[in-house]
């Protein structure tokens, strides 16, 4: 943070196709979060070029970035990042609010997506009344509610136990199968193995990029 820039990524070449499910792995400090934040337009890259949906991302002002994030990107964070004083439904509906959608319409849509993640009956609960897994599913619903091109998940299961993790991953898998591109950061092998392609980073460069052979976990 601050004014001094730190070069974390040392030059990498990565293409993500539409509909892919990618896991990014690496030790802490390897640059995986930075990569994800740049892809999510939450951070700025100072060199190289980034195409999002065939659109070159450069000289982006915050207003344009906000619109792009709203239209094309959905975020899932390790710490959920739900707004604590809004209930599940309001949290899910928030991206739609910034799209300028009418209240009744966005609540309807938010409820639909909450149902999709299996939390329709928890719609009017505040985040602190929900379990960790439930919170993350609310966050997933929020990420997909605006029907983005890409879902970016930074250690989505990092704060969850293995059983809950599996539930969340199944959900992500399902979303991917519906056509959304997913990029997930994780340091757990079994989580990464649920994706299509694993990219390993070390000290800011890609050390391996492998397709996952084992496919289709049973539902």
């Amino acid at each position: 943070m601050g004014k001094t820039s730190l070069h974390v990524l040392k030059g990498l070449d990565l293409e993500v196709k539409e509909g892919e499910f990618i896991a990014i792995m690496g030790a802490s400090g390897s640059g995986k979060s930075t990569l994800l934040n740049i892809l999510g337009l939450l951070d700025i890259h100072d060199d190289g070029s980034y195409y999002l949906n065939d659109q070159l991302i450069e000289n982006l002002n915050e207003k344009k970035a906000a619109v792009l994030r709203n239209r094309f990107l959905g975020f899932i964070f390790q710490s959920f990042n739900l707004i604590s004083y809004k209930n599940a439904l309001e949290n899910v509906a928030l991206p739609l609010y910034y799209q300028g959608m009418k209240r009744s319409e966005r609540n309807k849509k938010a409820l639909f997506y909450l149902e999709k993640v299996g939390l329709k009956d928890r719609a009017y609960h505040l985040p602190n009344e929900l379990s960790g897994g439930e919170k993350q599913r609310v966050a997933v619903a929020r990420a997909i509610v605006s029907n983005p091109k890409v879902i970016l998940a930074d250690e989505p299961t990092g704060a969850l136990d293995s059983k809950t993790s599996e539930g969340v991953m199944k959900l992500l898998r399902q979303i991917n199968e519906e056509g959304m591109t997913l990029i997930v950061i994780t340091h757990e092998e079994d989580i990464a193995n649920m994706s299509d392609r694993i990219i390993r980073l070390k000290d800011g460069i890609i050390v391996s990029d492998k397709k996952v052979i084992k496919r289709k976990i049973k539902k």
């Binding site: 939450l42 964070f77 910034y98």
Partner: protein, 415 residues
């Protein structure tokens, strides 16, 4: 922007933010309300002091001068130093004819006398007066009336007494009009009771009897004790004072540069000193008021700063979800303007209530009231509150600007 303000979603978003952050909201409202309340009370009390001065002087013609005769200080036209001089009734007409800018010239006479009613007695000043005195120093009558022309013409033995004398001679709530009191063993009928005013120049209080009666009873002939002269508002009372004295010196054959022969007291000058004091109070009020405003502005700014700081992460989340910096700033500004407006209104209402309490306290109604009708100028208060809100919000925008100009990921990481 209009669409934004009148959009129901905007307000729902704001009310949600307010409702779910009650403590912060309460502290914000209290801080601003306190500032406005202080301002309103301060302005009100200052105005009360001002009003009180005006009330004390209000019944008294402030553009007036008292002139009396003493004894000469210089030999002139064969007369020796120390010749005693008396003002005469003919002087009144001469002054009226020769001095410009006069409003009233009121001749008066006074003598200390013993007043007796039944077993009670009191020693007070007795004044011979014309009805016109009521114009120069307004008599606040509790009972009855003041001396009129008829009393003068017929040299009636009637008197108007002050409240203190009334209290000493009469029982509580006893109706005094038509009763008789003895002044130097002569019976006078009481026709009025007046309330004494606290301030002003010249002798105060005592018993007023018709001037003609006084002259006869006290054997004064054409002699006058002193003159109360008032000038018209567009004339300088100092000039009138000088003109009158010069004229009197001529009439009484006194050396033109004799400073001792005629004494005078210029009430206008004395009043100016009080006006200066009043100006000092006004200055102090404005100074403290503006300082209070500045403190309030910084209080709002500070609260907003804390609010925004506390919500930096939330702002980060909102930005990740697609909120533009403009949307975030608008929301912060609208929320703060809304809260501070409510707080300002509460402050005005509570301040008004405090002034209402003061208005009914002994500071206003008591014997030694030092306040009168403490009020505030509504436009001034509204402008102050609007200024408070506008500048406070501008200061609050600084942290909001910072929160929207750092990278979203840094805002998100803020714990």
């Amino acid at each position: 922007m209009f669409k934004f303000i009148f959009d129901i979603d905007t307000w729902q978003e704001i009310f949600e933010g307010i409702r779910k952050n009650m403590l912060r909201t309460a502290i914000t409202i209290f801080g601003v309300m306190w500032g406005v309340l202080l301002l309103v009370s301060l302005l009100g009390v200052a105005r009360g002091i001002e009003n009180n001065f005006e009330k004390l002087f209000g019944d008294f013609a402030t553009n007036s001068v008292f002139v009396w005769a003493q004894s000469t200080g210089k030999p002139f036209k064969g007369f020796q130093t120390g010749r005693p001089i008396r003002l005469k009734q003919s002087d009144v007409a001469a002054i009226k004819n020769n001095v410009k800018g006069l409003e009233f010239v009121v001749p008066r006479n006074q003598s200390q006398s013993k007043i007796v009613r039944g077993l009670k007695n009191v020693d007070v000043g007795v004044y011979g007066d014309y009805p016109i005195l009521d114009k120069v120093e307004k008599k606040n009558l509790i009972y009855g009336r003041f001396i009129n022309e008829n009393d003068i013409d017929e040299r009636k033995k009637v008197c108007v007494i002050d409240e203190d004398t009334y209290k000493q001679l009469f029982e509580i709530d006893e109706f005094p009009i038509g009763t008789y009191i003895k002044i130097n063993s002569i019976n006078y009928k009481v026709i009025g009771v007046y309330k004494k005013i606290n301030m002003g120049g010249g002798p105060q209080g005592g018993i007023h009897i018709p001037f003609s009666t006084f002259q006869q009873v006290y054997n004064q002939g054409n002699n006058i004790g002193w003159l109360t002269i008032t000038g018209r508002p567009d004339y300088e009372i100092e000039q009138i004072e000088a003109d009158v004295k010069l004229l009197l010196k001529n009439l009484h054959e006194v050396h033109p540069e004799d400073e001792r022969a005629f004494g005078s007291f210029n009430l206008g000058e004395a009043f100016k000193k009080f006006t200066g004091f009043l100006k000092g109070i006004q200055f102090l009020t404005w100074f403290v008021g503006i300082a209070t405003l500045i403190a309030g502005i910084f209080a709002i700014g500070n609260i907003l700063l804390i609010t925004v700081k506390e919500r930096t992460q939330e702002i980060g989340i909102r930005r990740a979800l697609g909120a533009t910096p403009r949307e975030i700033k608008q929301q912060i500004v609208l929320e703060s303007v809304f809260l501070t407006s409510i707080a300002g209104a509460l402050g005005i209402i509570l301040g008004g209530f405090i002034l209402f309490l003061i208005d009914h306290s002994s500071a206003v109604t008591g014997e030694d009231a030092w306040l009168s009708n403490p009020t505030v100028n509504i436009p001034i208060v509204l402008i102050s509150v609007l200024l408070l809100i506008a500048l406070g919000t501008l200061i609050g925008l600084i942290p909001a600007h910072i929160a929207t100009s750092i990278k979203p990921i840094d805002a998100l990481r803020d714990e």
